[in-house]
């Protein structure tokens, strides 16, 4: 079947079965490899992308359910205020190790800040608990999110 997807502001026509997870369409068909595969069952968050600004797990999102929603991936999240600040805070706080989970972490954090500009530790835990990091970057993530929140509030950091 054919689907027309709006990914990072560009229209892509793809020819795949409707139940194909968005993850593989992004990575293998469109060629945006920044979104990662970790579990395939919505348990790790590595595949997190935004649909109209909402974080979803692309590994369990059938392409036929995407419709006209705007898909945003890690490759374009830097164009948003939240995304740019989260990326900068991630580097300032030296969060990243192997980096494999970090696309998903950043997409989750950016989505959190979009709806909750000054999250508490509990808010951060609640949202970020969906993103596994085997390198153990957890201790730095709350501080990085708070830095991004502060810079967003003051308009700095871009």
């Amino acid at each position: 079947m054919s689907f027309t997807l709006n990914v990072n502001g560009t229209t892509h026509a793809v020819e795949v079965d409707g139940d194909t997870p968005l993850l593989w369409v992004l990575r293998d068909v469109i060629g945006l490899t920044g979104t990662k595969f970790g579990c395939g069952i919505a348990m790790c968050g590595a595949c997190t992308v935004h649909l109209d600004g909402m974080a979803v797990r692309a590994c369990v999102t059938p392409v036929e359910t995407v419709g006209t929603a705007a898909v945003t991936t890690i490759e374009a999240i830097g164009a948003t205020d939240e995304g740019a600040r989260v990326q900068k805070a991630w580097l300032d706080e030296e969060v990243v190790q192997c980096g494999y989970c970090q696309s998903g972490q950043i997409m989750s954090a950016a989505a959190l800040l979009a709806v909750n500009p000054s999250p508490s530790d509990a808010d951060i835990d609640a949202v970020m608990a969906g993103n596994i990091c085997r390198c153990g970057t957890y201790p730095r993530i709350p501080a990085a999110i708070k830095q991004a929140a502060t810079e967003l509030a003051s308009g700095e950091g871009r």
Partner: protein, 718 residues
């Protein structure tokens, strides 16, 4: 590795062994060499590690794999320090498979593991940078007709201060390569370091926050197809029948590849490949292990524990000390089967042609991977190219290249390049496991309450027999037994080894922290038990047993002080300490826990003190300790795989859980200032976690857990 550090313990001073090996190791070529990688013909290689383009970033060729541990940053720091360039003037690139040039000076192979990278390369990489700098200065001096001594290098340029002339490295490199290679170079004293020891930000991370970093799974050679693979569920089983009628009808599915022990569905994208794999009707011959389950595996290793043992170390007279009587402990610590569960599932992309084979993979053993691909294809080594990619975690899993040979076998039947992708389930069910391990510990205390004898029987597989025979001696795996004698001053000590292998077909391998991780629970739990038996404070008891080990005492005191050791915590809370002298470093860790009446365990705080000698980057050091602690916490709280019908039962993060952010305690890392030779840090944080928790739980509840993962159901008090 623990591999090295532990194995060399008792035979050589670890550090002196390493240093002499490094200095003697002629394996590092530091002369100019013609390296003309595709698309980089404009680069001039001043030596195998430094390629200088006419303009743009200098390429530093990193001999070790980047798997999150910061080695691209660490090695770049060492080279850049002496080359006199800023870190934003360089980019790190993966070395090709060429152990004669890029092999680790001690391991003599391209192995990234065991926390030996910085220890082995600390001096050679600075030397590579200094050699190139001297050659660049000489080229500029020739150009200007001045004395090289009147010139100096700074930020990628050679300067002639008295005339104000300057030339960029890019303009000098070709001429520098024609000049002589200095036989000796002087290295900077630590007091002049501008990069080493400073918290500069990592150079590999900007690409990892915007999706541009390329991991193994991101390899996209022209025309690549995607394969989902399933291996025989039971270890050693074989594929019997395949009905692929339904699978081949799925849109995008191209081909079904049948191997003796696996099946793969090749498709236009991984989604179709996975759907096709699920649509196959398969039957397997379970093979020789089909009847095995966890209970049987445990029964076998318990039986082995009572069998014949080899003596790995025998100091004093343990038997006499034991016969003399006195209070003591006789306990067994039990460790489960563990997977690595690196975030990036196993994968490998291969293009087999009639006369060549090209491989894209993230591996900790790039040269072995190349040999493996050559062996499967029958091609000569020089016809096989391996492009090492960033690793989405390694933790020892990617020290084995079974994923490469499997992918090559699939690719041999596919026209064009194919990316073989393991599901998370395949990744967990076909790991190179940390296998079952037992430690039986017998301790006797003297009249003063201090231990007089220490007998430690180590039971588990001898991974080094196949992985690094250098560390397998007279039937003993030196990685497993190294350090098992404990760091404590005890007059009579004996370490025994019972080799007990996993069933045939089940791969066992190296797991973060290697030997020290398997031994730490027994050692640090055992000494804690002895302290309590003697009615002494566990910190004071340890300190009294470390009279000859000032660096270990130093971290013990520092961790205890920062953790507030001895200050009251109130009911249901406790602190536990564990020491880790290994990988050429010293660390101590205090865990603070709360155990609810219902047995619910909360890890409230982890305090680490680290003395790893000269620090290359304090920020990366902190990252690595935090990382090691989190890895250890996951294993201590959850790590256990079980077997049924010869197959691993668990398959994904639902039934094989790992630590999540909401369970992660604050982790403090306190660093000892030191100019001693640098030690390893990538694994240093992991081994101490389990025993620190066991000891803290005892302090909180009076209940001693000696098996992993921690069974909190035993902690219920209401």
């Amino acid at each position: 590795m623990g591999v090295l550090a532990t194995a060399m313990a008792g035979q050589f001073s670890r550090r002196s062994f390493l240093i002499s090996a490094v200095l003697a190791g002629g394996s590092l070529v530091v002369g100019p060499r013609l390296i003309q990688p595709a698309g980089a013909a404009e680069n001039t290689a001043l030596n195998p590690f430094i390629r200088i383009p006419a303009a743009g970033k200098i390429q530093l060729v990193i001999p070790s794999a980047e798997m999150g541990q910061g080695v691209y940053m660490g090695i770049s720091t060492l080279i850049a320090e002496e080359l006199e360039v800023a870190l934003d003037q360089v980019e790190a690139v993966a070395a090709p498979a060429d152990p004669a040039v890029y092999g680790h000076p001690v391991l003599r192979d391209q192995i990234t593991g065991g926390s030996v990278t910085i220890r082995g390369f600390y001096e050679p990489m600075r030397r590579a940078g200094a050699t190139a700098r001297v050659m660049l200065i000489a080229a500029a001096a020739r150009e200007w007709g001045v004395d090289p001594l009147s010139c100096r290098a700074e930020a990628g340029q050679v300067l002639h201060p008295s005339s104000g002339r300057r030339l960029a490295y890019g303009a000098l490199a070709a001429k520098a390569a024609e000049g002589p290679v200095p036989e000796t170079v002087e290295l900077k004293p630590a007091s002049e370091f501008r990069l080493i020891g400073k918290p500069h930000l990592r150079i590999d991370t900007p690409a990892k926050v915007n999706g541009t970093a390329k991991f193994g799974l991101d390899a996209r050679p022209e025309g690549v197809k995607f394969a989902a693979v399933m291996l025989s569920p039971s270890f050693g089983g074989t594929l019997k029948t395949v009905d692929d009628t339904e699978a081949l009808k799925i849109s995008g599915v191209r081909q079904v590849v049948k191997l003796s022990d696996a099946v793969a569905v090749v498709a236009d994208h991984t989604g179709a490949a996975r759907k096709g794999l699920a649509a196959l009707h398969l039957t397997w011959d379970a093979g020789p292990n089909g009847g095995l389950d966890t209970a049987e595996l445990e029964r076998r290793i318990e039986t082995a524990m009572d069998g014949e043992a080899l003596v790995a170390l025998d100091h004093g007279d343990v038997a006499a000390a034991e016969a003399a009587g006195g209070p003591g402990i006789e306990v067994v610590y039990r460790m489960p089967i563990l997977a690595h569960s690196a975030m990036e599932p196993m994968n490998c992309t291969v293009h087999v042609r009639a006369d060549s084979c090209e491989v894209w993979v993230g591996t900790q053993v790039v040269a072995r991977a190349r040999q493996g691909a050559a062996a499967v294809t029958g091609l000569p080594l020089e016809k096989v190219t391996v492009h090492n990619q960033l690793l989405g975690g390694g933790f020892g899993r990617r020290l084995d290249y079974d994923g490469v040979t499997m992918a090559v076998r699939v690719a041999q039947q596919v026209d064009g390049p194919v990316q073989v992708v393991w599901s998370r389930e395949e990744d967990i069910r076909h790991d190179s496991y940390r296998y079952l391990n037992l430690s039986r510990l017998s301790l006797r205390l003297g009249p003063d309450g201090m231990p007089v004898s220490w007998r430690h029987r180590v039971v588990g597989p001898a991974v080094m027999a196949r992985f690094l025979p250098l560390l397998f001696k007279d039937g003993i795996d030196l990685d497993q037994t190294g350090g098992a004698e404990s760091p404590y001053d005890i007059p009579n000590k004996r370490v025994e080894f019972v080799r007990h292998e996993a069933p045939q077909g089940m791969l066992t391998g190296n797991w973060r922290g290697v030997g020290p991780t398997r031994n730490a629970p027994a050692i640090e739990g055992g000494i804690d038990e002895a302290a309590h038996l003697a009615g002494r404070d566990p910190v004071a008891y340890r300190r009294a047993l470390l009279t000859n080990n000032p660096r270990l005492r130093g971290v013990l005191d520092l961790a205890a002080e920062r953790a507030g050791w001895g200050t009251p915590l109130g009911p249901d809370r406790g602190r536990g300490i564990a020491l880790m002298p290994d990988f050429g470093s010293f660390s101590a860790m205090v865990a603070q826990v709360h155990v609810g009446g219902d047995g619910r365990l909360t890890v409230e705080r982890i305090v680490c003190a680290v003395d790893c000698g000269q620090v290359v980057n304090p920020s990366v050091l902190r990252q690595q300790i935090e990382s090691g602690v989190v890895y250890g916490l996951s294993a201590a709280l959850y790590g256990r795989l079980t077997m049924e019908n010869g197959a691993i039962v668990e398959g994904n993060f639902d039934d094989a859980p790992v630590l999540r952010i909401n369970e992660c305690p604050p982790i403090e890392v306190h660093i000892v200032d030191s100019t001693e030779s640098p030690g390893g840090v990538g694994e240093l944080g992991t081994p101490g976690v389990a025993p620190a928790l066991m000891n803290a739980i005892f302090a909180a509840t009076g209940k001693r857990l000696r098996a992993l993962p921690l069974d909190t159901s035993q902690l219920k008090r209401t």
